[in-house]
């Protein structure tokens, strides 16, 4: 029952719900979009009949419905007290909290690695990229700057320290997603265009990694070590991990560079320090994985053929994009 047209139907409604949410005239329309998002994502993830997907969809439903119902209550309080332009009060904090809970951001992140652990790779891709669009755009409409900076710091620290003791690739990408969420929320506070740029590059990187893991059917880290992979696949893995961590010649460095530039020009020195140090912990963790997989445990069997000869063009293309995008992305500003 995996490839039926139900998925296409719910996927269409999922895309449509984000568009409803971000392009509505009133906050009530935003809430409606978030509700339709929840209603259409649950059938996508609860498709198979094992215990894991039931528990996953249950946890997802509980957290998301609580967040959206809190969001609606805060909208009504804001409407009744007529606080439409004052962004430094308790109501903006409550609305931002409920949106942060929908995203899986840091004080409300405890459901996120659990659910990511229970989903397949393509559902994870949906959860990590598309489900974050509408809460983030709604966050940009009415945010409390001081509260959000505190949340950003928590996001960075939890995302970097939480990934240190993981052996599951999905949970690793979940904590990396929480860390990148910190960067993305800060880029919302800089400019909307920068958020869009960061989000597009992040979703492209995540897509390349997840498609690689999906094609190799890898869910745990020991599968990286004992696998008889092609040389180019391992190289692609190396490049994508380093790009996700934000190392310079690769694609993932560009949006982080712009954010650090903004931070240093406007003298946010303490925040820059936290951004740098948490990125360092993340990169340490990635390098630990890929060095062990690529250089130390390099098994090559003599009697089996090389895997995946048919999909080489996709692998080569994604490696090429990761390496050269930093230079090519400067062309979009011409």
């Amino acid at each position: 029952m995996n490839n039926n047209s139900n998925k296409m139907f719910f996927l269409f409604i999922l895309f449509f719900s984000t568009l409803i949410s971000i392009s509505s005239n009133s906050w009530f329309g935003c809430w409606i979009g978030l509700e339709i998002n929840l209603l259409s994502f649950i059938p996508l993830i609860s498709n198979s009949k094992n215990l894991l997907s039931v528990e996953t969809s249950l946890k997802y439903f509980l957290t998301q419905s609580l967040a959206s119902i809190n969001f609606l209550f805060m909208i009504l309080i804001k409407f009744s007290l007529l606080k439409n332009f004052d962004m430094n009060n308790i109501i903006s904090i409550m609305m931002n909290s409920s949106l942060l809970m929908k995203m899986g951001s840091a004080p409300f992140h405890f459901w996120f690695p659990n659910i990511v652990e229970g989903l397949s790779w393509m559902n994870n891709f949906m959860l990590m990229t598309w489900q974050k669009i509408s809460p983030m755009i709604l966050l940009s409409y009415y945010f409390n700057k001081n509260f959000l900076i505190f949340m950003i710091i928590m996001n960075l620290i939890i995302g970097s320290l939480g990934g240190l003791n993981q052996t599951s690739l999905r949970k690793l990408l979940a904590f990396s997603s929480i860390n990148n969420l910190g960067w993305m929320i800060f880029s919302i506070m800089i400019s909307e265009n920068l958020w869009l740029f960061y989000f597009l590059i992040y979703s492209m990187m995540i897509f390349m990694m997840i498609s690689l893991f999906f094609l190799m059917n890898m869910y745990f880290m020991n599968q990286l070590f004992i696998n008889n992979m092609n040389f180019f696949i391992k190289l692609n893995l190396l490049i994508n991990f380093l790009s996700l961590g934000g190392l310079p010649p690769f694609m993932g460095f560009m949006p982080k560079w712009i954010i650090i530039n903004f931070l240093l020009i406007n003298k946010f020195y303490f925040l820059t320090f936290i951004f740098m140090m948490t990125s360092l912990i993340i990169i340490y963790y990635y390098i630990r994985i890929i060095y062990s997989s690529f250089m130390f445990n390099y098994f090559k069997m003599k009697w089996m053929n090389l895997l995946m000869k048919n999909n080489m063009s996709l692998i080569n293309l994604s490696s090429f994009i990761s390496i050269s995008s930093m230079i090519l992305s400067t062309f979009i500003f011409m």
Partner: protein, 96 residues
């Protein structure tokens, strides 16, 4: 000024509903009921608010439709959980 004391009732109901949601229960169904209680408190709040400012009630009906959809989704997840685990106890979560 007595008319403004009614706002505290809504915040109180909402807060109690959230409190039951986050409390440790034995059954999942209590959590779903607390969600419906929060929906009820928002319905009440919305109703009184719309009467107070003399608007029409259309938004209230739209809100009701979406909340009912969400409640039925919660119930369907409860049904699927009972089909897999046999009960709706929270102690049976051992996978994640």
């Amino acid at each position: 000024m007595l008319i403004y004391d009614i706002w505290f009732l809504f915040i109180y109901m909402f807060f109690l509903g959230n409190l039951i949601f986050v409390s440790k229960n034995k059954h999942l169904f209590v959590v779903l009921l607390s969600l419906e209680f929060i929906v009820l408190s928002i319905f009440f709040f919305f109703f009184v608010l719309l009467i107070f400012i003399d608007y029409d009630m259309y938004m209230l009906m739209v809100f009701l439709v979406f909340s009912v959809c969400e409640g039925s989704l919660g119930l369907s997840i409860l049904v699927s959980m009972i089909r897999s685990y046999g009960n709706d106890y929270f102690q049976s979560f051992s996978m994640l």
